[in-house]
Every structure is written in structure tokens, then in C-alpha cells.
Amino acid sequence: MDPLLKLEDCTPDSLAAAMEKAGYICDPVAALTIYLALRLERPLLVEGAAGVGKTEIGKVLSRVFGLELIRLQCYEGLDESRALYEWNYQRQLLRIQMEQARRQPGSPDPALPEEDLFSPAYLLERPLLRAIRAQQRPVLLIDEIDKTDAEFEAFLFELLSDFQVSIPELGTLRARQIPIVVLTSNGERELSDGLRRRCLYLYLDYPDVDKERRIILAQVPGISTALAGQIARAVHKIRTELDLEKKPAIAETLDWARALALLCADTALPEMNAVHAEATLNILLKNKADQDALRHQLRGQGLPEWVQGA
């Protein structure tokens, strides 16, 4: 994977440009925070509502710097055997069995040393250990950290502050290369002060109209500038003016944009029309109550007219 930017040549502006080249429209505030996290070699904690592009930061950084992406998807009940390491128990057993079969009764062969069984050859690396032992600096994406238990969060402290982990049988393993760590959270659970202290902090909000228009233009090939602008304005208005149970995320905006671009291309229309918008609303709003709320707000007029009336 060829890097778009070298870490040592990185500046806030060049980073924003490289991320844009990789398909991620990044505002200067986010670019500067990511740049500082890289320079200070600190984990970056990204918070924000679902679907504002938090996870994408980790993926894009791996593309920009041409580094391996190691992802740990968190969930309730995640423990260190799934996140850090596990001994390959079956392989250890087989080794013992083979050793027993090889040795004749009464043979003077020395017994199998215990440390042989607890050597790196019998270690099953999970994402965190893989990031620590990687030869080349990886991007470690710890996604949805708020879904884990508080105990697991505390377990991460050692990794995030000293970039090392302790394995009782092997001792402390230090990172060969300090990974670029991105943690994401959408606030399902309040994270501890300890975790926050170890990270640089970035809050991502829903994009403004201009940024969303640029995202649509970058991600939906063949869409007209006018349609992209209309969609961005409509989504922005829906997010800000309606009391929704679930606000549309960027991914949903892009799906809607793709659908509308397709329909517009079929009908050779340069802009959104009310019938298309109405027929594809379920792509944007994934909840009946939210769809009803929008229809109630429209009061019979078409979506393009409603947006125009802003």
C-alpha cells in the first residue's frame, strides 16, 4: 500500500489534503487534532453521534500513511482473551501428548520444560497484542469503546499510556513501534476520567451543509453539484428542525444521494423532485415515527419546496 503522505512530512494542512485525497473530508479542527495525536504519539479519542465519521478516521489514517489497520470491535463482555492474547491450549496439549508418546517408559530424557509450553509459539495474538508486536507502525482502531465494561476500559490503561502489556507467563511486552491509536465512542456509557486523560480528544458533530455537499460530491460519482447541494440542505434541515428519534447519519445521506442520483439519471432530471424524494425517504429515515414526523412537517408540500422555503 503506497502512502499518500509520510509521517515525518506531515503538517495539519498536508494531512487534511491527504485525507481528502483518501476520500475523507476533514475540517481544520479535526485535522489539527489528528496531527497533534500523531506528533505527541497519544491515542485519539473521537466522540460524536452515530454516523458522523468517527470510525472512518482510523481507516483513512491507515490509507493515508500506508499502514496496516488493526481493528478491535468492542462489545459488552469483551475480555482480554478476545482482545489481547490467549494461549493456544490445544496446541499445548498436543505438544504434551507428542512428548509423552516420544518418551519411552524409564527413558532418561529430561521432562518437557514448562517454559517451552508458554513461549510465543503457543501464543494466539489478538488485535491489541498484534498492534504491540507489529514490526511496522500500525493503526489500531478500538471501535465503540463505550460498549465494553468498565473493567476492560481499566485494562486498557497500561496499553494506552505506556504502550506495553503484561502477560504473566512472559512478562511485559513493549511496543516495537508505537501504534497510531484511534478510539471511538458514541456516548452509550460515560467513559472514565482515566481513559480520557490518556487521550487527545476530538468531538465530531454532524457536518454543516457545505461539508456534507463536499462529502456527497466526493463519494457519489456522477452526481450533479445542484443535486448534491439540495440533498445536503435537505438533510441538514431534517436534522436540525425535526425532533427525530434517529437523526440521519452521513452513510444514510450517501445512500440517499446514490438513490436520487440514479433516479435523476434515469429521468434525465438535474435536480431532486418531490416524487423521488418521497419514494426514497425510507433510505434516509429508518423509523416510521421519524418518517411520519417529516410528512407532518411537510404538510402536503414536496420536500424540495420545503427545503427551499428555509
Binding site: V29, L32, S81
Partner: protein, 462 residues
């Protein structure tokens, strides 16, 4: 966008360190935790940014010092104060010192007036009293100068009596705009900047303004939540509801994901196919049980302050828990249909709940409400039922309420009482003391409380 103008005043490295320390000081006072490691990070970050671009300095400090979105407005204000024109700051320091001197004099005069030692806070209350009340206090405190020697029984009594009187007035004058106790002497510029930051904490109407900026939404009273904080509240209410709906059972179930304990029986059985070698291990974890949830929601006049919270909690819980039974109570008890509450958007649900109930705004009679529950809805409570009471506990006929709560406790799995009154006020209400042995009592007046309830309190068995 980041501002492009220069971050002028702090030219020398020493000035920058001072400025960052002042900024950290302001943030700490405003309730944003900033530790030494964050200050070190901030100073390191400043070496990587362009000082001629104020926006970069601002964002570098924000990313390293502020770790919660709710504290960002406080940061913005503090940053603007700390990184302001030095001449303006000098003027602010002079004004602050003049004000501090005035307050000191007022404090001294209040002590001389009464002839008693007073705290700064008490002396400020003293000067805000009506003249007649001040005269009365003065004449009371100045009785028999011989007997009110410090340390003498009468002297101690007089001091305590005056302090109690002033404490009473402080509550009566409860005005958030009242000046706070004089801060201890320290960095005059920091004190001056903090004094600048203070007025924005409250608005003239007495309603806390911008408090999210200062204390964070988690410390906000639920009755004062802003609309933009509601999604966070909904998430917490949903998580709380889910935790409550899936309390841990004492029974275990097979588990591939969560490894709480080795399932030795299944591991041994599986070893047979490998000639007795335990090649595959099996695990088990605690089984989540689904208790029946019964919500008793106090909608009396004293709870009117929390009506919004009550409805939102009700709505969140009803949306999450299928088969939830809800009763509203005040003077008496009446059932509410959970599926109707959860139908449609929150605003519709709120008006529906308000319209359908006759109990809103009445007095509280918990005993009668529980008696009605026992007599008219005997099957609503069983051994698996978790009864959730959302009430401030201000009730008539406390003896009857205690009797009924005790009876209810014997019939259900547990009673969880969520009390929106602040914990400090609990000792003032005998109901809290007398009902506590039968309930798991939780303070629930801020998002922080709800969050810690979700993390530590709920879901565990009594």
C-alpha cells in the same frame, strides 16, 4: 474554521506556561477535570503549532485539556479571557482587587456590627437583609457583652443562633446571582478572570444559564436539561431500562462469548471424543433473567418540577421494556398503558399521559396508592417483580405508607426507589429515613446519577 489572527500576548515561553496554567485553573474551577499530565500534553502540543495562528493554539489546547464536549463552551470563554490583551487583563486585575477590598471591608463591618465572628458568606447575607431584620439581629447579638464572651455558653449560643438565622435567610434569599464567598488570595489575574467568568453562570432571572458549560451536562439537574442534551438522556434512560429489564440471575447458561466460569461438566463430556484429553473447553456465564417490571410514578404537585424527567423516563422505559406495567399515583393510584405511552414521538406521548390522568398535580398519599395497588391489582406484583418507584417521597400519612411499602417488599423481588431530591436534602424528610430499610434508594436528579445508576446500581440483585 480555525482563526487566523495571531495569539498575541504570550510571546515568551514563560508567559505561555503561565497562560496554560491559568487556563487549567479556570477550567478546574468550572468543573472540568484537568490533571498535570494534561498540562504537560498541552505544553508539548504548543510546540507543534504555529503561534501566529490563534485558531491552532486554541484547538491544540482544547484537544489536550478538555475531554468532554460539555466542557467546550467553558473552555472557549476561559481561553478568550486568558489569551486576551495584557492591558485589558491588567485593568481587570485592578478592578478585581478593588472589589475584593470592598468585600473585605463589608465583612469586617458586619463582624463589628454583630460583634461575632462571621464567614464571608454570612456577612454577604447580612448586608442583603432588610434593614429591620438587620436591626433585630444586631440588638439580639449585642445583648450583655459580658456574658457573650467567646467560649462562654451564652457566647456560643448567640453565635449559633445568629448563624442559623443567617442560614435561614440565605435559603430564603436563594438567588443564584448572589456573590460567592471571597476566594482565598492567590494569583490575582486568575482570580480576576474567574470573577469575569462567574457572571455568565447565571442569568438575571435566576435560571442557571450556560451551566452545561460550567459543570457539564452530567451534573445538571434533570429538570433543567436543554433540548440538545435530551438525546444523551434518552440513551441513558434506554440503557437504564435495558439493565433493569435484564437483571442477572443466579443461574448459569452456556456461553461462548463471555467466559465467566469453566463449565467442567461439558468440558469433561467433550473430552471423551478425544480419549479423555480436554481439548475443548466450555464456559458458562450468569444467565440474564427478565424480571417483571412495575413502575410507580409519582405525579403529584411536589414532583411538578420533574414532570419533564418523569415523562421522559416513562417514555424511555416504556419503549424499551415490553410488558412494562405503569401506574401513576398522587392522592390515589391509576393505571397507565405503557404501549400507549411509547406510541409516537415524545411530545405526543407527553400530552397523552398528561391528558389521561386525573392525578397530575394532586397531593401525595403513597399509603393509599399502595393499598389500591394491593386490593385492586393483586396480580400486578409477584415474586419476580421489580417495583420501581419514582418519587420524592413527600407523602401524607407516613405510617400507612411505611406499612404498605413493607407489605409490598415481602411480595416482590425488590423495590428500587429513584428520588429526584438531592441527597443532602434527604435528612430533612422523615419518609426517606423510614422507607429506606425496604427499598434500594438512589438519588436520581442529574444525568450523572442516571449514568452511575446504570453503571453500578441497576441490574444487581438486592
Amino acid at each position: 474554521m480555525l482563526e487566523e489572527k495571531a495569539c498575541g500576548s504570550q510571546g515568551k515561553p514563560g508567559d505561555a506556561i503561565q497562560a496554560v496554567l491559568r487556563l487549567a485553573g479556570l477550567l478546574r474551577r468550572g468543573g472540568c477535570p484537568v490533571g498535570p499530565s494534561e498540562i504537560v500534553d498541552a505544553l508539548q502540543a504548543l510546540t507543534w503549532v504555529d503561534w501566529s495562528r490563534r485558531g491552532q493554539v486554541r484547538q491544540a489546547l482544547a484537544a489536550t485539556l478538555v475531554k468532554r464536549a460539555a466542557h467546550r463552551p467553558l473552555f472557549e470563554k476561559s481561553f478568550d479571557l486568558v489569551f486576551a490583551d495584557p492591558q485589558r487583563q491588567q485593568k481587570q486585575v485592578q478592578q478585581y482587587l478593588a472589589r475584593a477590598e470592598q468585600r473585605e471591608q463589608a465583612h469586617r463591618r458586619a463582624q463589628e456590627d454583630l460583634g461575632l465572628p462571621l464567614s464571608y458568606e454570612d456577612s454577604q447575607v447580612y448586608w442583603r437583609l432588610p434593614e429591620a431584620e438587620r436591626r433585630r439581629l444586631r440588638s439580639f447579638a449585642r445583648q450583655s457583652p459580658v456574658q457573650r464572651q467567646p467560649g462562654s455558653p451564652l457566647g456560643n449560643f448567640l453565635t449559633r443562633a445568629v448563624q442559623s438565622r443567617l442560614a435561614l435567610w440565605r435559603r430564603q434569599l436563594a438567588d443564584p446571582a448572589a456573590p460567592e464567598e471571597l476566594p482565598p488570595p492567590g494569583d490575582p489575574l486568575l482570580e480576576a478572570l474567574w470573577a469575569q467568568l462567574q457572571p455568565s453562570r447565571t442569568e438575571p432571572g435566576g435560571q442557571p444559564a450556560d451551566k452545561a458549560a460550567l459543570e457539564g451536562a452530567l451534573q445538571r439537574d434533570l429538570a433543567q436539561l436543554n433540548p440538545e442534551e435530551l438525546p444523551h438522556f434518552h440513551r441513558l434512560a434506554r440503557t437504564a431500562a435495558r439493565r433493569m429489564a435484564t437483571g442477572l440471575s443466579r443461574r448459569y447458561r452456556q456461553s461462548a462469548r463471555r467466559r465467566q466460569a469453566l463449565d467442567f461438566r461439558r468440558t469433561a463430556r467433550a473430552s471423551i471424543q478425544h480419549g479423555g484429553v480436554m481439548l475443548q473447553r466450555h464456559y458458562r456465564s450468569r444467565r440474564a433473567s427478565r424480571p417483571d417490571l412495575l413502575l410507580l410514578c409519582d405525579v403529584s404537585g411536589s414532583m411538578a418540577r420533574y414532570a419533564r424527567f418523569v415523562i421522559q423516563f416513562l417514555y424511555g422505559l416504556a419503549k424499551e421494556v415490553h410488558g412494562l406495567r405503569v401506574f401513576l399515583f398522587a392522592e390515589d393510584l391509576e393505571p397507565a398503558l405503557a404501549h400507549q405511552i411509547a406510541d409516537g414521538p415524545l411530545s405526543v406521548a407527553a400530552s397523552r399521559v398528561m391528558a389521561s390522568s386525573r392525578q397530575w398535580g394532586e397531593g401525595t398519599h403513597l399509603g393509599r396508592a399502595l393499598l389500591t395497588l394491593r386490593r385492586e391489582y393483586p396480580h400486578a406484583v409477584g415474586p419476580r417483580t421489580v417495583v420501581l418507584i419514582l418519587s420524592d417521597g413527600r407523602t401524607m400519612a407516613l405510617d400507612q405508607a411505611v406499612r404498605e411499602v413493607a407489605r409490598l417488599r415481602r411480595r416482590c423481588r425488590q423495590i428500587v426507589w429513584l428520588n429526584p431530591l438531592p441527597r443532602q436534602q434527604w435528612p430533612r424528610f422523615p419518609a426517606v429515613r423510614r422507607l429506606r430499610p425496604w427499598c434500594r434508594l438512589f438519588e436520581c436528579s442529574t444525568l450523572g446519577h442516571l449514568s452511575s445508576l446504570v453503571q453500578h446500581g441497576l441490574g444487581r440483585r438486592a
